[in-house]
């Protein structure tokens, strides 16, 4: 428990947090990586996932890709990208996007598919065209699952962004690896606690959003898309 109190001391020290390259800046970097990676992945995966869910085409490929990425070791992906793209920010971002795409894709098509076929048929019978069916019926009804996919992606990317420091990027992994290399256990423990806290906090935000959405009229009350990291 000595290490723990030393880690807490380290965390409570103002010097740990302020100034460039310190914990405050690292946390901002970490959140920045996560946001950029999830955003890029969402731009790719959301339209594709909605299209797959709506048309039913390409579903087998989507299922296969999300299964394959689950088996893919994140550290291997990261180091491979780093060897290909060089040390810096590009490699981790590529790896993070590759990790985030399948979860978002799966959430998007599962969300659209979860909508009762009778409801979709009824919407068509009312004279809605394909766009209207997608935007007014399938997306609103499937929204909790679509957001569940985003939630899972954020979770995976936050966790893997810690490893980005291993290939020369910043983020909260920096102090963690610095502590690891210099046998500074309080520093690496303190940094780990911050990462864990950040991940749980982000996940809790999604929980709140999903709860709030379940009160909105016309939205289904289903929750979280669960899959492996």
């Amino acid at each position: 428990m000595n290490h723990l109190s030393a880690a807490v001391d380290w965390l409570l020290d103002a010097q740990t947090w302020t100034g460039p390259g310190q914990l405050g800046a690292r946390a901002t970097e970490h959140l920045g990586y996560t946001a950029v990676a999830v955003l890029i992945a969402a731009v790719i995966a959301l339209p594709a996932g909605l299209a797959i869910g709506h048309t039913g085409r390409g579903r087998a490929a989507a299922v296969l890709s999300s299964g394959a990425v689950r088996a893919l070791p994140t550290l291997g992906l990261l180091t491979l990208a780093a060897l290909a793209a060089g040390v810096g920010l590009v490699a981790p971002l590529i790896a993070l996007v590759v990790l985030a795409v399948p979860s978002i894709l799966a959430g998007a098509y599962a969300g659209v598919e979860s909508v009762d076929r009778a409801t979709v048929d009824a919407a068509r019978a009312q004279g809605m065209n394909a766009w209207q069916v997608l935007w007014r019926v399938e997306v609103p009804l499937g929204l909790p699952i679509v957001i569940g996919g985003l939630r899972l992606a954020v979770l995976q990317v936050t966790a893997t962004a810690t490893l980005a420091a291993y290939v020369g990027a910043g983020g909260l992994g920096r102090p963690l690896f610095l502590g690891l290399r210099t046998y500074d256990y309080p520093m690496m423990l303190g940094a780990s606690l911050v990462v864990i806290l950040l991940a749980i906090l982000l996940d809790a935000c999604f929980e709140v959003v999903q709860r709030l959405l379940s009160y909105a009229p016309g939205l289904a009350r289903t929750g979280r898309l669960r899959e492996a990291r």
Binding site: P73, T79, L189, A199, A228
Partner: protein, 206 residues
């Protein structure tokens, strides 16, 4: 080809870390899931706790865990316990759902036939929940195999060592081989679980 022995050794180390964790997660998830289904107050605690665990990133847990259980960061046991916790985060929920999905009428019929609560669990509920449990176990197995490699950055030997060594020495082939072997191992274990499921649950074959 000269590296084949090295890679094989690392594969063995990889299995030594992942197999106990997968087995422990599966075995521990059953009593936890049963408890969660039988006692409503326990349900919120168990499912909430594993849900929270699910959000914890792997590398930080490898580092925080030694403070809680008194192991060293590079100990095999530390890695196995951490992987077991991640396995539980996935498995407890699917086990609880699987056991909960057993038809209530079937349960009542079993009780009417004179099964005790424990006997009913082993002879009726567990076999009926089997296929869903297997589905959960397959997810745990694949994710554990891929998660083990993260521990390589701490200096623990596994197929992940191919990533750290390959990265530091700039050998793309080593990293690629590590990825290929990890995916292959995950697929093989998955296949083994499916076969085991067919063997143990011949009734579930369609």
């Amino acid at each position: 080809m000269a590296n084949a022995g090295h890679i094989l050794g690392l594969t063995g180390a990889h299995l030594q870390l992942s197999l106990p964790a997968i087995a422990a997660a599966f075995l521990l998830s059953l009593p936890l899931a049963r408890l969660a289904n039988r006692l409503r107050p326990a349900r919120a605690l168990i499912l909430g706790g594993t849900g929270l665990l699910y959000a914890v990133p792997s590398l930080p847990l490898f580092i925080v865990l030694p403070v809680l259980i008194g192991t060293g960061v590079r100990d095999t046991l530390n890695v196995i316990v951490a992987l077991t916790l991640f396995g539980l985060a996935l498995m407890v929920r699917s086990a609880a759902d699987a056991l909960d999905a057993v038809d209530e009428d079937t349960r009542l019929a079993a009780t009417a036939l004179g099964h005790s609560s424990r006997g009913r669990f082993w002879t009726v509920e567990l076999p009926l929940a089997g296929p869903a449990l297997l589905a959960g176990l397959r997810v745990v197995s694949v994710s554990t195999i891929s998660l083990v490699s993260v521990s390589a950055v701490l200096g623990v030997q596994s197929l992940g060592s191919l990533f750290t060594d390959g990265f530091q020495r700039g050998i793309v082939a080593a990293v690629a081989a590590g990825i290929a072997m990890t995916v292959l191992l995950a697929l093989l274990l998955d296949l083994l679980l499916v076969l085991l499921g067919r063997l143990l649950m011949p009734w579930s074959r369609r």
